[in-house]
Assembly symmetry: C2
Homo-oligomer: 580 residues x 2
């Protein structure tokens, strides 16, 4: 954690002029829970030194009666999911009034272990737009059993201790290994104990976990959760002591279901998170300001909603001494907006500097940080993708749940030809393959999935939570294989293929991120999505996001990894199952 | 700070029976902000392991539908002001549902420095009734200038660093040296920086301070205040970022004035404190439960009021990992009460043990902890107490403010006889003397005070915040001198005298505390108060409490020390003034 940094300044006592005075603020005071009319904010360097009246300064910004609130905070995001390098992602988020994010770099942690973390941390430092805080990836690999999936990296308790020493690390990231907690697996417990003993937070990840199992997670030290998909699930977590993050990502949308949980008595225990957010979604809808807007539209008091996006995460993550509210000594992260309906900023100030006033400041010159290539995939022969049918038996398929990353297990009568089970676009059944892509082991798994709406061709991605093996969904083996080859040959990325036609989004940085400016990544992503929708007939919006969660074996109910098909009960270990 | 202590327990996951199950709780859930009907609480040893259903246990307590809430927390108390040793004070408070206090041992810190702190800390440890947390006395002496008052001890930044290492220390106690903050006096700044850098809290003490001076205190790291006596004063502190403690002590009563500040949007930033509380008041009205009751009677939602007495201080002081709410992993500090009106417990559980069920558990055998005697007073000759009048000039008198420790400065026409200014009971004017009592220096100060209602005789005390010189108020010099001699000869304490008659409350422990059981101290205190009221005609209730604040030179507006009479502006240094 960063050390205390408030040099004595007689400007705070108005004995000398401040650097900057923001005048005529209609201050949304998240501390006193009220809107203060006509207040001034005095700033020296990157810090607020006074609020109220009696200050003067060398330079003035007139808020002219507009609303002024603290910079917003995303309580849980994997910045890798923006597909952007951190400076590019931060530049994009800043325009929406975001001043800080807590990121769990477990995508790159899985792919490239400590090298990956160092890459992200170095990229984040002093980016000028947003304070990036880190929670250490608790579950790399996701589960410790390699017969469930091939994982490229491991962050053991010793490595976690090293990570905890970094000044931007505020906690341990989502502990997904719930069965490990329940059974008291020493390595899992040791990581939690170490972080709690240091006074750092421990985030959780307990989809559908309830009752004594939920209590046991809390008892062992898990403090928050962002995986609630049902109102009563979130209510129980809140009652039992968890901080609840309401999440709205590109493929995980829980705000509508959960927002009625919020009331002024409990709002302090609630926050907003985006978890995984495509850049196209972000530019289109906004970032945390979008959740605040939706919450207010759903009836939450605007002050409450802003507390959930500012004071609450700052307090929870132990960074409230400098973030999350407007007070003397806080970092000068300030948003000026015309209303409390759209939460669309006119001006955004970060560390005392205007970073958005209708235009974004240009990005600074990129740092020279490099990461070794990570794609090492040995693809099987085309014939090996064939699935032999078992006559008379139904096939187990993965059912997508619209707007969620949960899946359901369904049984259907398979489409059979020449003794093989085939994809059946007429019933929206596609084939899905996961190819190990880090060590060239050649291992792969095959299953069937319903819900993409894909009518022809194939789509694929080297982003495949959390081990980031390559995931390909398609209607025929040839297009699927070609899709996998394209992704391999471009050194990681996302692709959509139909015969000789294809669209791609190269992600050369660990197979997760582009090295290009945000604008170009968004353009490529839009072209890719359009190809999926118009040429391949994909009906799911943001199909690449859904695709990337097919292989995550800690979220119920049915998942495919490079080791095969697995059934997952809430809080339970994955159980290997067959298609038939 | 205490380290993390949650050994793996399969009882948390209901895989084995717990030790104790509290069934049929009407749980006041301060986390989710609601009352949960019919919930169980499972306890193992001193810890809660689960809440909800699905648990079984070896032993059961049936709450039978009564209200169940977390043990209460006093956010700021000087336990020395109970005049009891800590185990006795804790035993008394436990019956009211208090489970933890944050005490600032600055009374004994002033008298006996580190020896005094060690005495209190050793006395507090494992007392079996209440968790006693300490904030380190920031201002020993109160101010650094010995021409303002003679102070017996000094706790410099090096000593403060030692104190911070103690596992029960959660912060730096009320920083009263506001002028020191405003001027950036290095020693004052260094103490604050050290504690904030460690992640410990820094409590403030800023009566009537506002505007840029208030911002400057907050900027430099002061986080809370318990000295607000006016609603708008408290509102400004809350708005600018301070946590506000609503205080109700024996002579500092602010709840009625401040309680309308509370609303659900800001309640999280508010707490309750008793600061200085006589044992007679405590037994008569209760402890923090009395403030909760009064708040609810004033219209505050009971859940809000209980949050202010539980979750809020636990969160603020960084002890929320184990206190302040009922959740798996928390210490089993639980109150069972029949209603949310009186907040009068039927059963109090501390660390999993029933400490009150209509009867208090007997006190454990006292520890053998000793402190050297501290009374070393050289009294002046009787004639030296005479005050020469200045004909034609009004006299400056200290006016008590009923129910507050603030004083006002007034000017009156003196009663003169033989060229001397005399006390004038007909106008409620008494003489007040402060005698240095630690080093036998013989220094003393004299002034006049209005508001005790004393008609004859004298009252005195070796408790005299914060340097604890001896304070005597009376109508004539002979009784005053005799009162001082009695206090000196009994090695510290409080006395009321009329001619040869007297009543005393001996306080041999540092001149601040009795070594007797609570019941006997209360009996002595009642006798003393009765003597004051019935024999001396004192009209002020709890006159000894008011007496003890006459010499505190950091609270406006007029104070008397052994160095004379001082005028104090809000946030300003004391300025020496004459009676005439």
């Amino acid at each position: 954690m960063k050390t205390w940094n408030r040099p004595y300044r007689n400007e705070a006592n108005a004995q000398a002029p401040a650097d900057l005075l923001i005048t005529h603020c209609r201050l949304v005071n998240v501390l006193s829970g009220e809107i203060e009319e006509d207040t001034d904010i005095a700033i020296c360097g990157s810090q607020i030194v006074g609020v109220g009246h009696g200050y003067h300064a060398q330079r003035t910004i007139d808020a002219a009666g507009r609303y002024v609130y603290p910079g917003l905070i995303d309580a849980h995001i994997h910045l890798e999911s923006t597909k952007l390098t951190i400076p590019q992602a931060c530049r994009l988020m800043a325009r929406f009034g975001t001043s800080a994010v807590i990121t769990d770099p477990h995508e790159i942690g899985n792919v490239a272990a400590l090298d990956g973390l160092a890459y992200q941390m170095d990229s984040a430092a002093d980016n000028g737009y947003i304070n990036v805080f880190f929670v250490a990836p608790s579950c790399v690999p996701t589960l410790t059993d390699m017969s469930i999936e091939s994982a490229p990296s491991a962050l053991d308790p010793d490595k976690l201790r090293m990570i905890a020493e970094h000044e931007d690390v505020v906690g341990l990231g989502e502990v997904m290994n719930v069965p490990g907690i329940l059974l008291g697996i020493p390595e899992v417990i040791e990581k939690i104990e170490d972080y709690r003993s240091r006074g750092l937070v421990v985030d959780g990840h307990a989809p559908l976990v309830s009752g004594p199992a939920l209590n046991a997670c809390i008892y062992m030290g898990v403090q928050s959760d962002h995986e609630s998909t049902h109102l009563e699930e979130a209510r129980e977590k809140l009652r039992r002591g968890m901080f609840v993050m309401i999440r709205e990502g590109s493929s995980e949308k829980n705000l509508d279901e959960l927002i009625s949980l919020v009331n002024p008595h409990n709002a302090r225990r609630l926050m907003f998170a985006s978890d995984d957010l495509d850049p196209t979604d972000m530019i289109g809808r906004g970032h945390i300001n979008h959740l605040v807007k939706r919450a207010v539209a759903a009836g939450v008091d605007p002050i409450c909603a802003l507390q959930m996006a500012t004071l609450n995460p700052a307090t929870y993550f132990g960074i409230g001494d400098r973030l999350g509210a407007i007070f003397a000594g806080a970092q000068a992260d300030i948003v000026i907006a015309p209303d409390l309906v759209e939460f669309s900023p006119d001006i955004v100030i970060h560390e005392g500097r205007v970073v958005f006033d209708g235009n974004l400041l240009p990005a600074g010159s990129p740092k020279s940080i490099h990461l070794r290539p990570t794609m090492n995939v040995r693809l099987p022969a085309l014939a090996e993708l064939a699935v032999t049918a078992e006559p008379g038996r139904d096939a187990r398929v993965i059912d997508l749940v619209p707007g969620q990353i949960l899946t359901r297990q369904s049984f259907i009568a398979p489409l059979i030809a020449d003794g093989l089970m085939l994809a059946d676009p007429s019933r929206d059944i596609a084939k899905v393959c996961v190819f190990e892509r880090h060590r060239g082991s050649g291992s792969f798994g095959i299953a069937f999935v319903r819900g993409f709406g894909i009518q022809k061709g194939a789509i694929g991605s080297s982003v495949g939570h959390d081990s980031h093996n390559m995931v390909v969904v398609g209607t025929n083996d040839a297009d699927m294989m070609r899709c996998a080859e394209i992704i391999r040959d471009m050194g990681g990325g996302q692709a959509a293929v139909l015969g000789q036609e294809s669209r791609t989004l190269p992600l050369p940085v660990a197979g997760l991120m582009s090295d290009k400016p945000a604008e170009q990544v968004i353009e490529d992503e839009v072209r890719l999505d359009e190809f999926c929708a118009k040429i391949l007939g994909v009906t799911l919006s943001r199909p690449m996001a859904a695709l990337s969660f097919m292989a995550l074996p800690v979220i119920p109910e049915l998942r495919i990894t490079d080791q095969g098909l697995f059934h997952i009960a809430p809080g339970g270990y994955p159980q290997k199952v067959g298609i038939f």
